[in-house]
């Protein structure tokens, strides 16, 4: 694993030094200039590591100016958790504080950075597919499947956050504006995602958790099936059952270990970071620390009182692992608590003053998919859009998650609301709630009530989708249309 990280390091450095003329010759995010070449199997493999590097992003500790670097998934909580009733920004300063109040504009830099990051992933994946002939013949199928998995992963994020987006599946000349800026209908994006993930399911094995695997592709595909306009519940159910039946994954006994014992038996796919190394660490752990308690940063993902209440009622032993305000002397107000699922190594939140250890150079992995999510998706697929389920297999999956949380009373019926609440407290701060609310068909209902309570201006026209970045639209010379309400 260490070796991979050095390779990623090497690639990120070449990328960092190769974009000096960006201001003179601005390129759309859907294309990236190609000034490297692949000469051997090793080069292709390092190129694949480079796709993960695009997901990983460059942290603030390396490059403070986000005009010069993409943050990968490190801003994702702003685009997802902040736009639900889960969390908010502690302050009202800057564009990072626009998400939780539903006032994101088309020039928002974090939203644009995420869009850019996902297209960087897509570009690098397409580039690998372009040079796949250079790889050893025995590796071509798995390299191809891995690149397609990552491309699908990025498109699945884009289609849910931005709606119709340009569908680019090959390396395209930057002058081909029509291909780069024509938004494809969501149904076409989903069709491509499904084809790519099915190939990954067929070809890959489960030999890695930090790289694409069969189970990761099965799990993401299950979520894709549940998210489509017309959900494929039986397909999702079969995929979840295949992951369960593989017996390769298991819930950790202690909820704490899910987050602080990296690549544990519950993790299906994680994006890795390396602590104490500016180039390979992530910044989100530090961003989650509150300015009111001597945290280094703004205090993002500050827990809303409404989520604290759900934790108190339904969290079980997950609460003390997920948020502050439960253990220790320093009990905060109900709407001031911090996320503690991703504390930087060396943190001591019960000391005075509070210590956040390695702070901005945190190595906590970003958990993309874990077994508990699959178990709860299994329940969702079995419920099949109905109001509840009494299916014994679904109840068994649900009970596993509940039992681990210390909530061992046996469940006879799982209602849709039960499942939504369970997902909220189990997967809080793992960027799931936004997508859950959409899948469960209660997005407007829950969030406009939340906005009312918090005094935010909620607009049903634009709340579900982020704006297409204005920079892209400018480069498209009018080809790229904007989402409604922006």
């Amino acid at each position: 694993m260490k070796k991979i990280k050095y390779l990623i390091l090497a690639i990120s450095m070449t990328v960092a030094t190769s974009c000096g003329d960006e201001f003179l010759n601005p390129l759309p995010d859907t294309v990236v200039s190609l000034d490297s070449y692949f000469a051997s199997d090793e080069d292709v493999l390092s190129g694949i590591y480079g796709i993960y590097d695009a997901l990983q992003g460059t942290s603030e500790a390396t490059e403070t100016n986000i005009g010069r670097a993409n943050r990968g998934v490190q801003f994702e909580h702003l685009l997802t958790e902040h736009r639900t009733d889960n969390t908010r920004n502690a302050t009202l300063e800057g564009s990072k504080s626009d998400f939780h109040r539903y006032v994101v504009e088309a020039v928002n830099v974090e939203s644009e950075d995420y869009y850019q990051s996902m297209y960087e992933v897509i570009f690098r994946a397409n580039n690998i597919l372009n040079y796949i002939e250079i790889a050893n013949e025995s590796n071509r199928a798995s390299y191809t499947a891995e690149a397609k998995f990552l491309r699908a992963y990025a498109y699945f994020k884009l289609v849910r956050l931005f709606g119709d987006v340009p569908l680019v599946t090959s390396v395209i000349d930057p002058g081909n504006t029509e291909a780069l800026f024509t938004r494809s209908p969501q149904s076409e994006i989903y069709a491509q995602i499904i084809v790519d993930l099915q190939e990954a399911v067929d070809v890959l094995d489960n030999s890695s958790k930090s790289r694409a695997s069969k189970a990761a592709a099965q799990g993401i595909l299950a979520k894709v099936y549940l998210s489509q306009a017309t959900p494929n519940y039986t397909g999702a159910e079969a995929l979840c059952e295949a992951i369960i039946a593989s017996n390769e994954f298991d819930l950790m006994d202690d909820f704490y270990d899910v987050f602080y014992d990296e690549l544990n038996s519950e993790i299906i796919f994680a994006i890795q970071y390396l602590e104490g190394n500016a180039l390979e660490s992530q910044g989100f752990s530090a961003e989650f620390t509150s300015s009111t308690r001597a945290g280094r940063d703004d205090g993002q993902n500050i827990v809303n009182a409404n989520l604290k209440a759900d934790f108190d009622a339904f969290g079980g032993n997950r609460t003390a692992v997920s948020i502050t305000g439960v253990v220790g002397e320093d009990v905060l107000e109900d709407d001031e608590n911090e996320v503690i699922k991703f504390l930087p190594t060396g943190s001591n939140i019960n000391s005075a003053p509070v210590s956040y250890g390695v702070g901005q150079q945190a190595g906590n992995d970003y958990i993309a998919l874990r077994y508990a999510d699959v178990l709860l998706m299994h329940v969702e697929a079995t419920m099949a859009g109905g109001p509840a389920t009494v299916d014994p297999d679904a109840i068994a999956s649900f009970q596993l998650v509940r039992d681990r949380a210390g909530l061992t009373a046996s469940v006879a019926t799982i209602t849709k609301q039960d499942l939504l609440t369970e997902r909220r407290v189990e997967l809080a701060f793992e960027n799931q709630r936004y997508f859950d609310l959409i899948r469960f068909g209660v997005f407007d209902e829950v969030l406009s009530a939340h906005s009312d309570e918090m005094g935010y201006l909620y607009d049903t026209r634009n709340a579900r989708l982020l704006p297409i970045p204005q920079r892209e639209r400018n480069l498209s010379k009018g080809l790229l249309t904007q989402n409604p309400g922006y």
Binding site: G386, P387, A388, D391, P392, T413, G441, D444, E445, R461
Partner: protein, 333 residues
């Protein structure tokens, strides 16, 4: 003192009236011709929109305004549509068939059909453009399939048991090898399958005792709401022995109930049934005594409740053996 104030107010009034007059004069003198450098608006508004049914109600359509160069909008939903708006996350539908919102909702209460919607887009110069689109309202509702677990009773009384706080027996029924000759998939087994059995000691009604058994299973169906009425069929086979015996006042009956809700106490569930003092969603009593092994198929329709959580219950009042087999629940039509 008084004079001073008067003087001051007179001057004030004078000044105010001069100001007012000069303002009026300047208004009248304002030219109506375009100012220097202004150009005519060569891009008149163009009306366009798209629509999508809301997730909550297929009859409520969400409109997306795709008009360009426009600032004001007039929507006309015709005689069958009323404008709705989202208030605190809840759709509120009025009685007006028009709306001036940029992106309104409209409800076509009559349900499935084609409705013409007209959007007029206007700009600040009152230039306008109108677009008419036929909106097809389609109900894509598919009722949930229901799996009755161990509906063929091959697995004894598993999944049919519930405990009773009033002291009745919790084993559901007596497992029997004298079930129907028909398998669950409808094919002929060529011999008996397993089934459920009740007799005098397991009966409810006038024969109820601590040995009484009632079968219970909770299921989930698609709910009935203000959009649509959802109906399902409960199907089962039964047989009643025709041997002579002293019949209780109720005769020899097999009882099937569908009740609203899920329960952990069988007695509470039983009290929801017609015979238990409540109101079943479906209450069936059948009494054709054709003898052991001679099964009759029953199919009865019921309307679902608002939650979609319902329970199936089977019981009997009989001096002789009665049998139930192959219990199924499926959407009507």
């Amino acid at each position: 003192m008084k004079n001073k104030i008067d003087m001051f107010s007179k001057i004030t009034r004078l000044l105010l009236s001069i100001a007012a007059v000069s303002f009026m004069v300047s208004c009248e003198l304002r030219p109506e011709l375009p100012e220097t450098g202004s150009v005519p608006d060569l891009t008149p508004p163009s009306a366009d929109f798209s629509f999508i049914p809301t997730a909550e109600d297929f009859r409520v359509i969400s409109f997306t305004n795709l008009s360009v160069e426009a600032t004001n909008y007039v929507w006309d939903f015709g005689t069958d549509g009323v404008a709705c708006e989202m208030v605190d996350g809840v759709l509120v539908c009025g009685t007006e068939s028009t709306s001036i919102a940029e992106a309104p909702f409209a409800k076509f209460a009559a349900g499935e059909g084609s409705y013409t919607v007209k959007l007029t887009a206007l700009d600040a110069n009152d230039a306008s453009n109108t677009m008419e689109i036929v909106v097809d309202v389609v109900d894509k509702f598919v009722p949930l399939p229901v799996t009755v677990i161990n509906g063929d009773f091959e697995d004894g009384s598993n999944d049919w048991k519930i405990s009773f706080s009033n002291g009745w027996n919790n084993n559901g029924f007596e497992s029997s090898s004298d079930g129907s000759f028909t398998k669950y998939d409808g094919t002929d087994n060529g011999g008996k399958t397993r089934g459920a059995k009740w007799n005098a000691t397991r009966s409810v009604g006038s024969l109820a005792s601590n040995n009484t058994r009632v079968a219970y299973q909770s299921i989930v169906v698609s709910p009935t709401d203000d959009q649509r009425t959802v109906k399902y069929i409960l199907e089962f086979e039964y047989a009643i022995k025709d041997d002579p015996a002293n019949d209780p006042p109720e005769g020899r009956i097999v009882i099937a109930d569908v009740v609203s809700g899920h329960y952990t106490d069988g007695w509470e569930a039983y009290q929801q049934t017609d015979r238990g003092g409540g109101t079943s969603l479906l209450h069936v009593e059948v009494s054709e005594a054709k003898g052991k092994g001679n099964f009759t198929t029953v199919q009865k329709e019921f309307t679902t409740n608002e939650s979609g959580l319902v329970s199936l219950m089977f019981s009997a009042i009989t001096p002789v053996d009665v049998y139930v087999d192959n219990v199924k629940v499926y959407p009507a039509n």
